[in-house]
Symmetry: D2
Subunit: 326 residues, 4 copies
């Protein structure tokens, strides 16, 4: 179906956990999928219109926020997160057929993966030297090259299993068996995904000034409306030390009155606040809402204030209230 | 001009400080003025339509809030404060002609006046016995009666000077020379007095629950919008010990976006919050407004949120964001 | 037993609810009891050493705080509340024998009692005129005088029943059947009453400045230590309009670490904060304490900070940390 | 001077910015300096006693917090930061003599350095391929190896200039000319560096629960004592998504009463709070202290509370305050 086909970018190369995340999107299997060499490149494909959306990692339960992504979506032309995907992370040690564990002297992988397999490496092949790779998949594929200067790679099970020429020396070598990475699907701004009652809203809020309490004022915009935060990260603006913005995930959807009200409060305090989207939670856990922060409570409050400002009648008109200095 | 004439009620009798307050209202001299025997009676004349507005005392710089007024406007059919008036309070000791200070053995006045002249009495006629009166003017007028059982009265200078049959034994006998009483002019709900930039808003907020922090949540509705409070008083609801409502004066007008937003917040937390009016400050002191709580900041924030919720275009429509469980 | 006998002052005259409150104190029946003509006089008897303690009313569930008491204990030589007593308030209409309800044209009582019986009066003898009295008991006793210029008095059941020459025309004429008045027993500063786990602490805190949030800072001293407030009242300092102090009852005892810590915080923000005592609650309702505000949590925190400031050993001594500008 | 010599570890290899930071420590030139292959290894040398202190990077003005360091000092055996050092960061492009810019096809460096030179690279040698290196110095030194599979390296000016066999192709190629990295000198716990009035205190605070407002409670411990924060970063605990600790730099020294009080508050809320040291600020900017959070204010408050709890005399002893249920 030319013309109607969807195109997705993702942080490549093929075989990474990011591609696994993309494949969880219902129509991804039928879509055109473009691997990008880095997060910025993936997002630029969206910004340029070459892709409809891009899948990129944003947070790892062990390593923390993916700073490249946090910074890339916080700057440049505006984008919107429209979906999140959780992928359990497990690592294998892959090598060309015939290589035994005892033969492994140099191991390549991405820095984050290396950090997550340190205990296993220290215990099983403590003498192994680390060779940095630009991704787990790149390190794995590098083993197939002629002049490869390392013996094994730490990579996703998918790559090792599907790639002819690689065999698995050890499985589940990650130090944290429950490790999960969260990915986001990012598009150009448009109609927001529908409210589901189990949503998240992501914003980027520059800290207005370096004064005591500025961060508390920001957090109070959420707390005073009963909006819980599931993630908060500080990132440098890059201008000078101590100048930050905050990347925040809040429970709820911009279409929820309490979230909309909190967004308005943020904009007043920090006018460069950037809205990055409202989208369904991957865990589909419904947000609990107290009665005084429900849509009904906001609507009732708005009506009440309107009735004060524009009363139906004016029986007091002939009283000289409005001319105190007359 | 029959038909168009304004009618004012006031806490009587004639000759009290309340009448002096009423006379500060521009058209009061030409208006019909009805003295009422107590605050509730004065307000009921307004509620019933027999008067257009009523002048009653609400706060004394020495004695504090006038609880009768605070409670009366907080309950019953809704009313609106449309003006405030400040009257400096000074007291005289009045007696029938011929009575000397040394002759005075029993002194009548209202309890509040007695409290404000204690030091002078203790110093000048320490043996004098107190005879409670229902108002300063009533005590003064009582001296003219045949069977008066006291010798002198503490009252306003106006009464003592204008009433034949009374002479002034001593002037300025109040212990606090700067004493001021604040009065309010109260009408039925109607069009609010115009914004002047130097306004006050009065609300009554029942404390939602007896929990730690409930009062702080209420105060935070003002603080988080940069709205200063000039008065806060707790009053019992009368239901049981420890059950309160708060009577609050805030700087600004309900037509100011930050005040309207605070009102909406109060209504959500405490749905029985009662709005008692926005009106010009007697001291005409302008309210300072920080840029992030200006009307402009609120308007900009509202527009921004609207642009998020209803974007002009929907370029991301063919991406399957809205069906995470499909 | 001369020398060992206790002397109590109380707000008189005899037969008031205050005396009833005093009689709830275990040794009051055997003690010398001195009625005082007003709250200040009662407290001065304690300050002068003429009495060991004084019983005075502080709060009525219908009328609110007793401002005379709130102001009297907030100023002058320091005093301590050592006990609180609750007395249910009910009123009777008393008159000399032979007087029928239909005969009553003028009724005397204290202003607060009059306010609490308004509905009954309006319904049963709407034409009755109010004659102010200095206390309910004084009005009742006045009926026995020769030249009494009123026909009946509203007073406590006790007086009407025990005083020969008075009969009860109507009982339970108060508008609020659950009305309660709270009384406090006040002594000179000394050893605090023992902690019981069901205590109250009373303080008087002058508002440091007229700035947005000053009251919130004060309240936060309690909230941030999980200390609930059972009463808060603003009172004018008498200096000028808008200058307040707050009279506050907090759950807990100054011997509780969280309360002591809150007191220290108050003293820093408002150095003229006055401590008015820690004493058992009349209702003996135990204070719930969260684990992080328990005495144990405070002790553990203090030890931890001490271990930081005075470590047992100094292994890093030969590192030039302390001379950054050398 | 055997025995008295100081030994410093640092994140190696030699020639990195970390070594430049270490050389700012007064006695570093005379000390034994041990390069470590990663942050954990450097800190373990201190924990094991093999080094007296270790210099490691903690924050970059462009890239943000150094997560390896943040995590390493937050876990394991306790350590103390005793000094901070700021180093301006500038990059050069280095290559073996004879290589021209036009010849460069593959460039190696550390990922963070690559990120900071992206704009320059895109503009000047857009076709260059990135080869990950474990450090800027390692990439530079790799150029001297026989089988080097890249043509140039991005590294610190120091390395390129001092190392025979390397020449500089381009200077100041960093995208952000004001880039600064902050380093910390870390020792075992011991006597804290002296107070200078221009100090910092670093703590690690696990978020006690995933509840609305938990982070605000933590921040309030600082704000309510007037302690400003210069850095706050969230880090995953690694247990599961959404479980964080916060790494915080606060103005002031643990020996300042307001900081000690804030630490105690943190310990109560989050008992696993870890103190990581108080040390002079590199910029020597003095901390402004409001009068109500000064040491004097804390001392006065403490004395006041002590005087309440242990009064000199007990004049009220014979009053039965302590036996309310008797």
């Amino acid at each position: 179906m030319p013309g109607s086909a969807v195109t997705y970018a993702f942080l490549g190369p093929e075989g990474t956990f990011t591609e696994a995340a993309l494949m969880q999107v219902p129509d991804a299997a039928q879509a055109t999928r473009i691997p990008a060499s880095n997060v910025n490149a993936a997002l630029d494909l969206v910004r340029d219109g070459a892709a409809d959306a891009a899948m990129v990692p944003i947070e790892n339960s062990v390593e923390g926020g993916v700073t490249a992504t946090l910074d890339a979506i916080a700057n440049g032309q505006e984008l919107r997160i429209i979906r999140e995907v959780l992928v359990p992370i497990s690592f294998v040690l892959a090598a060309p057929p015939g290589v035994e564990l005892a033969d492994v002297r140099r191991v390549s992988t991405h820095g984050h993966a290396w950090a997550q397999c340190r205990l296993w490496m220290d215990k099983n092949i403590p003498a192994a030297e680390y060779v940095p790779g630009s991704s787990t998949a790149a390190s794995a594929m590098g083993l197939l090259g002629e002049d490869c200067h390392y013996d094994a790679a730490i990579c996703a099970p998918l790559v090792a299993r599907e790639q002819p020429g690689l065999s698995v020396l050890a499985e589940n070598i990650g130090d944290n068996p429950g490790a999960v990475t969260r990915f986001i699907l990012v598009s150009r701004p448009g109609r927001l995904p529908e409210r589901t009652g189990a949503d998240k809203t992501t914003v980027v809020v520059p800290l207005p000034e370096d004064r005591p309490g500025a961060l508390m004022e920001i957090l109070d915009q959420f707390a005073s409306r009963g909006v819980n935060l599931s993630r908060i990260e500080s990132r440098p603006t890059g201008q000078y030390l101590g100048h930050y913005f905050f990347s925040i995930d809040a429970d709820g959807h911009a279409g929820d009155a309490r979230v909309a009200d909190a967004l308005a409060g943020l904009h007043r305090i920090s006018p460069n606040t950037r809205f990055l989207g409202s989208y369904p939670r991957a865990d589909m856990q419904e947000t609990a809402v107290e009665s005084h922060t429900s849509d009904e409570a906001f609507t009732a409050a708005k009506s009440w204030v309107a009735s004060i400002l524009q009363p139906g009648s004016s029986p007091a008109e002939n009283v000289s209230a409005a001319s105190p200095t007359a």
